[in-house]
Structures are given as C-alpha cells and as structure tokens.
C-alpha cells in the first residue's frame, strides 16, 4: 500500500554525498537514496517538468538538503518545497557546514524540520550521519498529499 520512503539527497560535493550515503547505509538504512549534485536537477526531479510537484504525488519523500549549492541556495529550494501543496509535508533535513544562528533561524522559519551542522571533524561527522540514519530508520514519513 504505502510506498517505501525514498531519500532525496541534494549535495553538491560528491565526496560528502558519498560519505553521507555510506554512513547512512552503515546505520542500517536500506531505503533508496537519490542524489543530486545541483539545485536545478533536484528541482526538476521534485517538481517535475511542469514545476507543479504533481510528479511526486503519493510518494513518501525525505529530503536531505545542503544550503551551499553551485546554482542556487538551498534556502530557495526549501522555500519552494514548503510552498508546494504536494511536497510541503515531506520532512526536510538541512545538512550544511554553516552554523550561523541567523541562517538556522531562517531555515526553521521556512519550515525545515531538522537542521544539522556538518561537524568539521570526520569522526564526529560520521557519527552524526549514522545517528541521522538511525533517526531515519525510526521516523514516520507521510506520503505527499494526494
């Protein structure tokens, strides 16, 4: 009945993307992970060719978002997701290097569900991602609105 949750990862740094994916897998999450290296591709995937978001109707999505993208800021993507009637219920996890309090506040105001700062130290980074993976394995994700 319900489709398995697919994780949309929007992360411009391929290395980070790979490390995130590996560490999520290590924590035992086996869901599909769809990675995008830039904002344009991610937007096309999320909102479809017509930009209405109809393409993702009924899918359960969990969005992992980096704020520093080469072609747009993650905040713009976050805003669009939260303004779209199909996608607005999908949890968005902002995973970025910035720990600026203004930025964090702004993201939560726009409707981000979790904000995580990438730790500088790799051990901590790996640890944080694995915990995030554990979190993914227990949270309930709604299907996009029908």
């Amino acid at each position: 009945m319900t489709k398995p949750v697919s994780i949309i990862m929007i992360e411009d740094d391929e290395g980070h993307a790979r490390l995130i994916e590996r560490n999520i897998r290590r924590s035992g999450v086996n869901n599909e992970i769809v990675a995008f290296g830039n904002g344009t591709d991610a937007i096309r995937h999320l909102f479809g060719a017509d930009g209405s978001g109809l393409a993702q109707k009924g899918n359960a999505l969990l969005i992992l978002l980096d704020l520093n993208l080469p072609d747009m800021t993650g905040i713009d993507i976050l805003k669009q997701i939260k303004e779209n009637k199909y996608l607005k219920c999908s949890p968005v996890v902002v995973l970025t290097t910035t720990d600026d309090s203004q930025e964090i506040k702004r993201c939560y105001e726009l409707g981000c569900n979790v904000y995580i700062t990438k730790p500088v130290n790799y051990e901590n980074f790996a640890h944080a991602i694995r915990q995030l993976g554990l979190f993914f394995s227990v949270i309930q994700v709604p299907s996009t609105a029908t």
Partner: protein
C-alpha cells in the same frame, strides 16, 4: 591657493598702507614748506610796498621842507621855519629807514647812495638858504632858491625816487607773482594729496571689504565643515565597519569552503584506513589459510577506529607493507588534523569577531583571581607564584576580558624558564580615562626582533617546546582592539616579559560593535 592669495593680499594691504603714509608725509611736508614760502613771498610783497611807501614818505618830507623853505622865504613867518625844520628833521630818519629797508637789494643800494648824496646836497642848500634868510639877505636866498630850482638836485631826487619806485614796482609784480604761484602750488598740492589719500582710502576700503568677505566665506565654510565633520566621521566609520565586516565574512567563507574538502579528505582517509585494515586482514587470513586452516570471519561491526591492523599477525614483506601503509596514513591524518586545527582557529577568530560585545561593570581583581584559580594547577606544576596587585575596575565585555587575561597569564606560566621558580605579577593603574594593566613575568623573554611577529596569526617565537598554534596573542590583540584599547610588549631574552594592555575605563559598545 588660499594661503598664497592671503599672503599676497596682506602684502598689498601693507603696501597700500605704506603708500598712504608716504603720501600723507609728503603732503604734510610740502604743505608746511609751501605755506612758509607763501608767507615769505607775502612778506616780500609787503616789504616792497613798505619800501615804496617809504620812498614816497621821503619825497613828501623833502617837498614839505622845500615848500616850507619857500614859504619862509616869502613871508619870513616863524611858522614856516618851524615847519621846515620839522620836515628836515624827519628826512634823515626816513632816509635811514629806507636804507635799512632796501639793504637786501644791491641795485637799490646804488640808487639810495645817489639819493642820499642828492638829499645831502639839497639839505645843504636848505641850510644855506635859511642862514641867508636869517642874516637878512632874502635876495641872496631867493637867488639861491631859483638856482636850486634850476639846478638838477631836486630833479635828480625826483628821478632817483622814480627809479626806485619803478624798481620796487617791478619787484612787487615779481613777488606778487611768486606769492601767487606758491599759494597755487600749495593749494594744488593739498588738493592732489587729499585726492590721493581719498583714493588710497577707497582702495583700502575695497580691499578690507574683500578680505572681510573672504573671511566670512571661510567662516561659513568652516561652519559647514564642522557640521559635515560629524557626518563624514559617521560615514567613514560605517565604511570601516563595512570593510571589517567584509573581511570577517571573507574569513568565514574561506574557512568554511576550506573545511568542506577537508571533511572529504578526512572521511576518505578514514575509509581508506578501514579498507587497508580489511585488505591486510584478508591477506593475513589468506596466508594463514594456506598455512593453518579456514579464514577468519570478517567482523562487520568493526569501524575505522576499532580495527587496528595488528589483529592478524603478518609476516615478512606483508608486515613491512602494512607498516608503510600505516605510516603514510598516519602522516596524512596528522597533517589533516593540523590543517583542521588551523581552519578551526580562523573560524573561531571570525566567530569571536562576530560576537556582540556587551559592556558591563567588571570587578577586575575578582575576574583575574578567578582566572588565576583555574590556572592554579598549571602554576603549581611550573612552580610559579602569581601576585595580583589592586586593579582598577572597568566597564567592558566580560568574556573578552577573561579571554585576554587568561591567554596572557597562561602564556606567562607556559613560557617560564626551566628550573627557575616563576614569578608572575599583574598590576594596574589608571591614566586619562584609560586603565593600564601590566602582566609581567621572569620567564624566558622574547627577542626584540620577534616583538611584532608574536602578534601575527600562526606565528610563534623562541624555542618551540610547548604545544600551540600561534593564535593566542593574535586573538588577544584583536579583542583588545575591539574593546577600543591597545597592547604592547617589552621584553628581553632571559629576563622576562611585560605585556601592557591599555583599555578605556568605560567602553561604549555602540561605537565599535561590528554587527549592531
């Protein structure tokens, strides 16, 4: 341009003033001279008239004497005789007076001499006439009178007098013309001089008005400048703040962007390490399989940290390979760790720069004693004693002050001389609205050539036997500057160092706060 113009204007004014003074002096001198000359000329004119007058008087007296003598001769009346004698008596003084009066004129002197002799002759004739009349010989006397009348003495006297009067009239005309000229000259001189003075005064007035206008303009400009100064200062301050913010943002962005690839390097190095561990374990297992029996089951839970390579004993060249691999990874990891520390330091510094400072009243002594107590353990290890003298209280940011003093005291403890009991003193005083703090030690000291260097980021000086990144003093100086103060060091090698911090007694956050 303005300074040059002002100097020129002042020069012209002085010149004008001098010219006016000169003209006035010349006019005054000239006037005095000319007036004197005119007076003299007038005197000469009067003198001429007097001379003429005197000549006429003389002639009159002679005629009187003559007519009286005739009367006496005709009537023999005593009245006529008395009259004649009076006239004769007046002739000589009149002649003397005339002689005196014309003493200056050589031409007239000739005439007067002739006149004198003529008059003398005539007087002699009179005397003889009177004698003859007195002796009762009127006929003789009448004959003499006729003879005298026929003779040229009287004519001569008349002619001489006429010549003299003519001469005097000539002189009168000359002198009158002279006097006239002098007066005209004096009048025109006074006129021209007055005109010049008026002209100079006018020029002066124009110049004074112009300079007054220039001064007014300058005053207006000064007022404007004063009004604008505040605005300009605000503008510059805003620019500076903007530039400062930009530097902060730049440092922040750079350190962030550097950190991102570093996470990859660290991450994949860890992955590689894990991978290496797996590979060598397999090699070990395979070698053992060949030697002993079934391979060891791989441990799925072993992470990159919990899997040292030494689980499976390797032998010979395999062991060497494993050691080389570990060594290479070790270098990579330690370099990464160092780079990570440096970038984190920059990040912390920029974060510190972005933190908003809150000025509060601080009991400085209490603050420093709290720091000293947290450092008590290190101090005891280094056998150091810390003396805190009474310190002035200030209004500033508490956290910043804590960081400043703990860094400096920590440095003082850290860089003491080996084997010498440390002595660290913290003193303070106030001066002109500033508090001056001194942290001095008897430690190893700093070479004067390094005094600037130690405040630079990532730079250290002296023997590198203590851990550190070369950040502390750079950080402290940034904080001190943000608090509106300055800091300096005085030190010699092996004699200890003194760090001096000057902070405003009351720091006003509004004028320095970067993010406000």
């Amino acid at each position: 341009v303005t300074a040059e113009a002002q100097r020129r204007r002042a020069f012209w004014q002085i010149l004008l003033f001098a010219a006016g003074l000169l003209v006035l002096t010349v006019i005054s001198g000239g006037s005095v001279y000319l007036v004197n000359k005119a007076r003299q000329d007038s005197q000469w004119v009067i003198h001429t008239i007097e001379v003429e007058n005197q000549v006429n008087t003389l002639l009159l007296e002679i005629r009187r004497a003559e007519s009286a003598a005739r009367g006496y001769l005709l009537t023999g009346g005593a009245d006529f005789k008395t009259d004649h004698e009076k006239a004769v008596a007046a002739i000589i003084p009149a002649l003397d007076k005339l002689t005196r009066l014309i003493g200056d004129n050589p031409a007239q002197r000739d005439s007067i001499e002739k006149l004198s002799s003529a008059i003398e002759t005539r007087l002699g004739q009179f005397a003889r006439d009177l004698d003859l009349i007195g002796q009762g010989q009127p006929e003789e006397a009448a004959a003499m009178v006729r003879e005298a009348a026929a003779g040229d003495t009287t004519t001569m006297i008349r002619d001489l007098a006429a010549v003299m009067i003519q001469e005097e009239e000539r002189l009168f005309r000359l002198r009158a013309a002279n006097a006239d000229r002098s007066q005209t000259l004096a009048a025109s001189m006074t006129g021209i001089g007055s005109g010049l003075v008026v002209l100079l005064a006018l020029i002066s007035v124009v110049l004074v008005r112009r300079s007054a206008r220039a001064r007014n303009e300058a005053e207006a400009r000064l007022r404007d400048a004063n009004i604008n100064l505040e605005a300009t200062v605000d503008e510059r301050t805003a620019d500076l703040r903007e530039a400062n913010n930009e530097i902060q943002r730049f440092a922040y962005i750079v350190s962030h962007d550097l950190r991102s690839p570093l996470v990859n390097i660290m991450g994949f190095t860890s992955e590689l390490e894990e991978l290496g561990g797996d590979i060598f374990r397999r090699i070990g297992g395979l070698t053992r399989v060949a030697a002993d029996g079934p391979p060891l089951a791989p441990d799925p839970l072993s992470g990159p940290l919990s899997s040292p390579l030494g689980e499976v004993a390797l032998e010979g060249p395999d062991k060497q390979l494993s050691a080389d691999f570990s060594e290479a990874l070790g270098f990579i990891k330690s370099s990464i760790a160092k780079m990570d520390r440096l970038i984190s330091a920059i990040l912390n510094l920029t974060r510190e720069g972005r933190r908003e400072f809150v000025p509060v009243r601080i009991d400085t002594r209490e603050l420093i004693e709290a720091i000293v107590s947290t450092l008590a353990h290190q101090a005891a290890e280094a056998e150091a004693e810390i003396h805190v003298a009474p310190l002035p209280n200030i209004t500033s940011d508490r956290l910043a002050l804590e960081q400043i003093f703990s860094n400096l005291i920590d440095n003082a403890i850290k860089y003491l001389k080996q084997g010498v009991p440390g002595e660290i003193r913290i003193r303070g005083r106030t001066k002109l609205g500033y508090a001056i703090f001194e942290i001095s030690d008897n430690g190893r000291g700093i070479d004067p050539k390094d005094h600037q260097r130690i405040f630079d980021l990532f730079r250290r000086a002296g023997t590198q036997d203590k851990p550190g990144q070369g950040i502390g003093l750079a950080h402290v100086r940034t904080l001190v500057r943000r608090l509106g103060g300055t800091m300096s060091v005085s030190s010699e090698l092996n004699t200890g160092s003194t760090f001096t911090i000057t902070l405003p007694l009351t720091w006003n956050a509004s004028n320095r706060n970067a993010d406000s």
